[in-house]
């Protein structure tokens, strides 16, 4: 018989099992840009939450005899034309921007992910029809859609959230569909199909875990776009209603007095820009660390 016996299995050398959390932590430690980006966003969230503790001024109440003051120890960033403390309004301003943006982005990315995966997995007529309809939605400028919806239904946060979902879902669907299409032909998906698993089980077990990074990056990036879009809307007077402290609105209000009290315009601009830069840095660094191609979808 054979002299060459079946060799004993080689023992597995101990290896740490990298969890998703550990992976994210490693990414953070290895990428300075990601750390900075996420830190900026975290600071913005903290400020928005702690605004009442950080300042003693009322962000809404007018005070005519304190109007248009330059920076001083009482008003670090001066006051606006109604005598409101600019710094206070900037600190409170993140609440509206972050609240609406995060909700809108969550909804958009969730809907887009489900639809995108379904399109990739089902294919056929479903994919075709969805693609055509989404293309048609994409062809109308988001600003116009939002303006029309807001004038018709009012400027309530829920209306804005829904409107943003309508204009941005198509793009998320495209990205997620593309990512899922790269997974679907993989042999482990074929194996699941050969087992006869259902569409939903394949989606949840095989496809979704492999596109979480794409979805995370997508979230960070969409969030930055949504913040920009909402602030533009407020700037045009279709977003937050006037006494509300909101960055876009503040720029619009104080632009005319920019030569008198430049800080009243600059402070909200800086707040807005840092938040979006933070989101973009995080999205860029995460996509680089995870190998997600995010640049490819300019707009």
């Amino acid at each position: 018989m054979t002299t060459l016996e079946t060799p004993a299995p080689a023992p597995a050398a101990p290896l740490a099992k990298p969890s998703t959390a550990a992976r994210a932590w490693r990414t953070l430690r290895s990428s300075r840009a990601a750390t900075i980006g996420l830190a900026i966003v975290a600071v913005h969230v903290l400020i928005a939450l702690l605004a009442p503790v950080l300042t003693s001024y009322d962000p809404i109440a007018n005070n005519a005899d304190q109007a248009l003051l330059g920076p001083s120890w009482e008003h670090l960033a001066g006051t606006d034309q109604y005598g409101r403390d600019v710094l206070t309004r900037v600190l409170y301003g993140g609440r509206y921007a972050l609240g609406v943006s995060v909700t809108a982005t969550l909804l958009t990315v969730a809907l887009g992910t489900v639809a995108g995966c379904a399109a990739a997995l089902r294919g056929g007529w479903f994919d075709d029809v969805l693609g055509r309809v989404l293309d048609a939605v994409l062809s109308v400028p988001p600003v116009l859609v939002l303006l029309v919806v807001v004038t018709a239904l009012g400027t309530g946060p829920s209306v804005i959230v829904l409107a943003i979902a309508v204009v941005y879902v198509p793009q998320v669907v495209r990205v997620v569909r593309g990512a899922a299409l790269a997974i679907v032909p993989a042999d482990y998906v074929t194996a699941a199909r050969a087992r006869g698993e259902g569409t939903w089980a394949i989606l949840r077990r095989e496809v979704l875990p492999n596109i979480t990074d794409v979805v995370c990056v997508e979230f960070a990036m969409r969030a930055s776009w949504v913040v920009l879009l909402i602030s533009s809307l407020s700037f045009l007077g279709f977003g937050a209603d006037p006494p509300t402290p909101d960055w876009g609105l503040m720029v619009a209000e104080n632009r005319t007095a920019i030569t008198v009290v430049p800080m009243a315009s600059l402070a909200p601009i800086i707040a807005l820009a840092t938040l979006v830069i933070g989101l973009n840095l995080a999205a860029d660094a995460l996509s680089k660390a995870w190998g997600v191609d995010r640049v490819r979808e300019g707009r």
Binding site: R132, V133, D135, A136, V137, L138, S139, V140, P141, P142, V143, L144, V145, L147, V148, T151, A152, L153, S224, L228, S231, S232, F235, L236, F238, G248, V251, A252, R255, I258, T259, P262, S265, I269, L272, A273, V276, I277, L279, N280, L281, D284, D293, V295, R296, E297, G298, R299
Partner: protein, 317 residues
């Protein structure tokens, strides 16, 4: 090759048709009675009825859709509810003014950003790349109204070279508008260029790492020849679609910038017609934007065909 073009054009027409249906339905779906809302709450019932008849609101939706598209095909978009003038002519006038900005923007943004993006890609991870990448990251992180405001601060207030606002109406001549065009165009170009720069950089890096570029280098060709003959056609291919998307974005992007500068273009018309609920004008603008979007994408597809022989020669092998 012809069948490829034909298929693309057909798909574009299909998308356009769907867009027009969506636009029409969306406007129809706006809640409340349009006539009442246009005329205000205390309008006389007679006036409301007259307006309803003028808008043909009593007829079924599909009939109105057919009427509208049939008119739109001949350039007849109905009559403005506010000015009472033909929508086609009015929109055309504003559109012409915006086209002036768009032309300059596209010209500068596309050439400039392609050059910068290719430069950054070729000097990957060295200082020109770091500089260009950082600036473009900031560029895409700042909203248009901020860029516009900062530009006004710099070039109208601190250094009065360009006018801060336009004082002319939509009928202004090109000569009257020309001095006021530069700042809005610059603002749009900065925001738009950021995306194209990033895309061009990434695809240049991808292509430079490809096997065929390595082969070309190992053939002993000069760097200039490797870049221009071997790398660039492949690198421009994915960039084309980003350029198309950004050019199409201008249709909506002008809204904010034109309002900052009070420039009498399509963006300003868009805003005022939304404020006044001037439905025929809104519909016309939406449809024109959709046409721009579809046309840009079609142009990108055809451009891709010119760059990629695989698309050109399909069916010949």
């Amino acid at each position: 090759m012809l069948s490829f073009i034909a298929r693309r054009v057909l798909a574009a027409v299909g998308t356009l048709f769907l867009s027009s249906v969506l636009v029409f339905l969306a406007v129809q779906a706006l809640p409340g009675d349009v006539a009442t809302q246009v005329l205000g709450r205390d309008a006389t019932p007679d006036a409301v009825a007259a307006l309803r008849e003028q808008l043909k609101l009593d007829r079924p939706a599909w009939e109105r859709y057919v009427d509208w598209t049939a008119g739109a095909l001949h350039g007849d978009f109905g009559v403005s509810l506010v000015s009472g003038k033909a929508v086609g002519g009015e929109v055309g006038m504003y559109l012409g003014n915006s086209a002036l900005i768009a032309l300059i923007t596209v010209l500068f943004a596309v050439t400039g950003s392609l050059l910068l993006g290719i430069l950054a890609g070729l000097y990957r991870d060295r200082w020109p790349d770091h500089l260009i990448s950082t600036v473009s990251l900031v560029g895409m992180s700042v909203p248009e109204f901020v860029v516009a405001t900062v530009l006004v601060l710099c070039f109208s207030v601190a250094l009065p070279v360009f006018p801060a606002v336009v004082l002319y109406g939509p009928e202004a001549s090109v000569g009257q508008l020309l001095p006021a065009v530069w700042l809005p165009a610059l603002a749009l170009a900065i925001v738009m260029a950021a995306y194209i720069v990033r895309m061009a950089r990434t695809s240049v890096i991808d292509v430079m790492a490809s096997e065929y570029v390595t082969t070309a280098r190992l053939k002993g060709l000069s760097t200039w020849r490797v870049v221009t003959r071997h790398a660039l056609p492949g690198a421009l291919l994915p960039t084309l679609h980003v350029i198309a998307l950004n050019v199409a974005w201008l249709a909506g992007g002008v809204a904010v910038v034109e309002n900052v500068f009070n420039y009498p273009g399509i963006g300003k018309l868009m805003l005022s017609s939304v404020q006044n609920r001037d439905l025929p004008v809104i519909q016309a603008i939406a449809l024109i934007s959709a046409i721009v979007y579809v046309a840009c994408n079609l142009a990108a597809d055809l451009g891709a065909m010119a760059l990629n022989p695989r698309l050109r020669t399909r069916g010949r092998t």
